[in-house]
Symmetry: C2
Subunit: 81 residues, 2 copies
């Protein structure tokens, strides 16, 4: 396997965009605005959610679990192709 030669700053932009689309989908299903979801996540800055939904934030696995819990969605749903 050719080494990825990437380190922990590794970004998978394609995946981040797909996850972002799913965050937007499940947020709207839940009937939350970006500001409301940000607040639930403890983020004062609603634009954090906006950036995430556009695949611009390489957020942590812990944060993904937090989103899944707040949006009442199994975390695996965010990772489906």
């Amino acid at each position: 396997m050719e080494s990825q030669k990437l380190n922990k700053h590794y970004r998978d932009d394609e995946r981040l965009h797909k996850i972002g689309d799913k965050i937007r989908f499940y947020r709207t299903v839940k009937g939350l605005t970006q500001a409301e979801l940000a607040q639930e996540c403890g983020d004062k800055d609603w634009s954090q959610i906006s950036r995430m939904e556009r695949g611009l934030v390489n957020f942590t696995v812990s944060y993904l679990f937090l989103l899944a819990k707040i949006l009442d969605v199994p975390v695996e749903k965010f990772l489906e192709d």
Copy 2:
């Protein structure tokens, strides 16, 4: 839903420990040492993998996809309870 009052530095240590156990499991199934997996991930420092396996690193979703690709495991497997 009582706001989590946590922000993007949010850590889910319980989950991180569970994921760490799975990284160790699938790494050993693949027959890689921590140093070999670290190298495949582009990390010069094998202790990064050691810390991850002990649930001490709140790594990114992109890095989780990288681990899944290198260990030939569907990413969902790392998130199962």
